[in-house]
Symmetry: D2
Subunit: 332 residues, 4 copies
């Protein structure tokens, strides 16, 4: 028997990606997709690639449509999700929130995002590989940011040995959303790599929050950039260790850490095209005289957003975390 | 119970794509993958995106490995496939040949490809939408070329009303294979659209062969080009009609023609990203004062190669043609 | 002694390109650049690549700033240019208009562009290679559209022998301007070739206007597309001849036609990267059994806009047409 | 009166770029271009973009052809340049060597490049902004590597205040040369950012050599990557300071350092498209709580190779260093 799920905010890239992935999930069916702007319009006319897959029309984000749902995904901007999450929880719907609204403690959130947080409740941070047990018991999971997913997975196993990490991240432009801006204007990205929020991106706080429990003294630096491509985040983590470890020791540490993590693969080399369209995070490790470099590759819309959200739903429901996500990446 | 299938020539893009798609096919299991060059090597070490999906090693293309197979895919270059196909057929294995070796009559083939055809047998031309019934009864299906798939599907419904068609095709570079050449050298394609074999590409003969039965007098022109991208063929078909038809009439003709064809979708606009990674062929129709333009979009490695090959296998086995192929495209 | 020139509408790509090219022109100096939106702002802060090259600030498009100018370029949208051109002509300033406002006869323009033309005057159509003598005597030159430049140059020499031409054009996205739209949104173009205004682009009328004098019965079809790149238009011209000509004869016809045309180069193969950043139009010729294919390559912002505008200014002033434009393309 | 210059190794990207740039140099003329592989072939048939610009044919790299030259550029791979440089110097020809052969002390070179250095002589390291006075007196200038140019310029002004620098560099693929390889194969780079020689690229030694004189204790880390584009190197320099400096102080330090350096521009934001095709190095500075980030952008084939080589020639000859290089970048 299939379970019904709803998507709040289905007009963007993460909404479209949820619909793409959920179509092949063996245990759920999408029964409602909201969009304030597009209410009344056929879903497939907005997501043309989905023609033939969904008969649904977008509806207003009203609770009545969610009555039969057991799980809801909120794929709206930060500041918006907090309007819906408490209502959903109240009527007993489990929620995976893809926005930033529940990723940080209330006070940190309010400082970082410059917003008053209405309707704050505690959530589990949904980096599945780190918090699987708590996610299994949670009603609200705060799905991680795309950059934090790539950064934290790249460094968590070795964090306790590190004194400093510099994350230099390169993201595809879909992370900037469906709305055309100067940033997403084709000639402004073509043949370029564009740094932005060079020393002050808000994802920094998630990364630190998740790495500090491994090592309260770790120094973290983070710079995001976009590269000319649609999907994928390549994270180059320059790691300075407190003590010397051989590459073999380091590899063993990572292997142990991720032993039961289907979606993390250690590879000799990583490429965004080896994970595209999939929920995998590939990691390669390099040792120089000065530092360790851990390079991770994810698809920002899958492991960095909608795929991990589904992985989290699977864990929340007590299902195999691979359901609906167990297919090979699209290479090349 | 799963059926065993084999892949002859598994080291290239179409081989890798067969492996990607067959992993999620509910009725088959890949039991053998050959590569003369890579025999003994792990399949996933060549197709890194498949790490975790296959435990197989490449083997030499010897018949003994195929004993338990019911179906084989030959994904080797033209001139090579003819060495294996007769042997496979002889031991009762059904074959879908992705090379050009069985797409044309022997004499035409020998002239066009400048090769003596050893071991010629008649095959069914595997454009599924046109030859579904014959494919169902066939032991050997000649899987169409990538360009012909996009061209023929774009024009077949209207061919009998046309006096002239000019196909101007734009392909991703994966059509040129995995081997680095001047043609595939990054700086030679970046920021360019590159015509090649401008008036003499061999796929021309397949296109004509399939359109003539609809209209023996149709004049066909064909020019292939590569654009800066990996996957996809966009075919712009400039169609000059013998009689005037309204856009509504034309759309109705296409709708009728493709009524039972799950993998052909009529869309108001087509984009390669609406079909990427999938077996769909999207078609949009435009009417000017001078001509009809039918634009089709396929993923050259899926509907243009490995996806259609699986679709053909499904039909040959009497299964639902969607098996293993019923998932949404990867957009964007 | 340098001559002063002004640019009306200097904030877009063609305005920036005029500034880039005019900086190295030995006989002129840009003394005024207007922009209603950006008046008061430093030119280099809008065109960051020009930092160090210009001290000018944008000014309002008022005639007083042009008093010392001998020539003005109008690089504003169609419908806007007509507001300035008559005033400039009146005070004796020669004008090269890069908009569409003066390319067509008044009645055709009004029908095609759906606008009433205020201030119509006759202009010379500024395809330099075709109208050099008239340009030399003109006060107003209507600089051709980007597509027409590539199309007309590809076919003019052979037009009188042709009965039908199908132009299938692939343009870089800068042709769509600096303003972000869905069309220029990176993920919408990446890994795609996007047809638009498939049978009804307004540049059609310029192409026909210029080819008809060679052959009043020629049938012309035209479809524009964008490819994933910033600059360049590749035009694939499928030409059906009335009589059979050998490739040698055709090449000779083109060589004769362009004998004194520095900026047209016949090449064995064309690539957009062979002309990038330059004023060249490269042409390659191919002969099939069914047709001739003439492929032309231009940089849409140079020969397709600002470069040709400067070439026209040179001719209008009686200078060598190469002044300021005689430098090699940027490959790759 | 023009001076004659020769190019040894003219078939690659840096050779082609020398020819592109030297064409417009007011004081020199290229009189000889060598290529062992292509001797006898027209230069423009290899560099198609240069059709019409050069009548030369490639010749064998023999000294007799250089008799009339005052300056030679060696644009051959490392290990090859050392075969020609001593001969050229011996007959009184000044040399700018674009290979790595003379950038490091003999012993360091032999260790790093694993080659015995035949014909070692001391050269001046040709980062023009740092060594202008010595270059002016030199007969042999070792033109810097592309990565070192971007790295050193980004950090030199602040090096003495820094305790650690992490250089994370993103290069266009032309840096890998004209020869097709797996690395330059289009599908392997498209939609990817590819790290390589992650902790052991040989350019590291040049960077350290040039930064140590400012600060013998500076810790340097360096990781190169390619991004999907032809030209450009974006260097993200994560700089950890020994003492706290305000952004204003830092900007002043850079402004002072580069006061007389035409080709270094401080910008609020850098983009590779702001320097493309030009000899500029643009630098933007950012200050976070944890570090300074200096981002530099160069065109790897110009300031990172052939442009800087010409700038060095200009300085060696006592000319204005801008000769032949004073034109705006090609944006976008």
């Amino acid at each position: 028997m299939t379970m019904k799920v709803g998507v709040i905010g289905g007009s963007g890239y993460t909404g479209g990606e949820l619909l793409r992935l959920l179509y092949n999930h063996p245990k759920v069916e999408v029964s409602v997709v909201t969009s304030r702007k597009l209410a009344g319009k056929d879903v497939w006319k907005v997501h043309r690639h989905l023609k033939g897959f969904y008969d649904l029309k977008f509806v207003e984000p009203e609770m009545k449509y969610f009555e039969e749902c057991d799980v809801a995904f909120t794929a709206v901007p930060h500041g918006e999700a907090m309007k819906y999450v408490p209502q959903l929880l109240e009527v007993g719907i489990k929620v995976v929130d893809l926005s930033a609204d529940y990723r940080l403690p209330k006070d940190v959130y309010e400082k970082v995002y410059g917003l008053k947080h209405e309707g704050y409740v505690e959530a589990v941070y949904g980096l599945t590989e780190l918090h699987r047990d708590e996610i299994a018991k949670a009603n609200l999971v705060a799905n991680p940011g795309c950059y934090p997913t790539g950064c934290i997975l790249a460094v968590a196993p070795i964090a306790k040995y590190a004194e400093r990490v510099v994350f230099d991240c390169k993201s595809g432009i879909t992370g900037a959303g469906v709305k055309p801006t100067e940033f997403t204007h084709y000639p402004n990205l073509h043949e370029s790599v564009v740094p932005y929020k060079v020393t002050n991106h808000r994802h920094y706080y998630e990364i630190v929050q998740e790495l500090k429990p491994f090592n309260s003294e770790i120094a973290v630096s983070f710079t995001p950039q976009v590269f000319p491509g649609s999907r994928g985040i390549l994270t180059t983590s320059h790691i300075f260790l407190k003590e010397n470890l051989s590459l073999e020791e380091i590899v063993r540490i990572y292997e142990d850490f991720y032993r039961d993590c289907y979606f993390v693969r250690l590879q000799d080399e990583v490429r965004l095209s080896y994970v595209r369209g999939s929920n995998f995070c590939d990691i390669a490790l390099f040792k120089g005289e000065d530092r360790i470099v851990a390079v991770s590759a994810i698809d920002n819309l899958v492991k960095g957003a909608s795929g991990q959200a589904i992985q989290n739903m699977n864990v929340m429901m007590g299902w195999d975390e691979k359901l609906g996500l167990d297919f090979p990446p699209l290479f090349p």
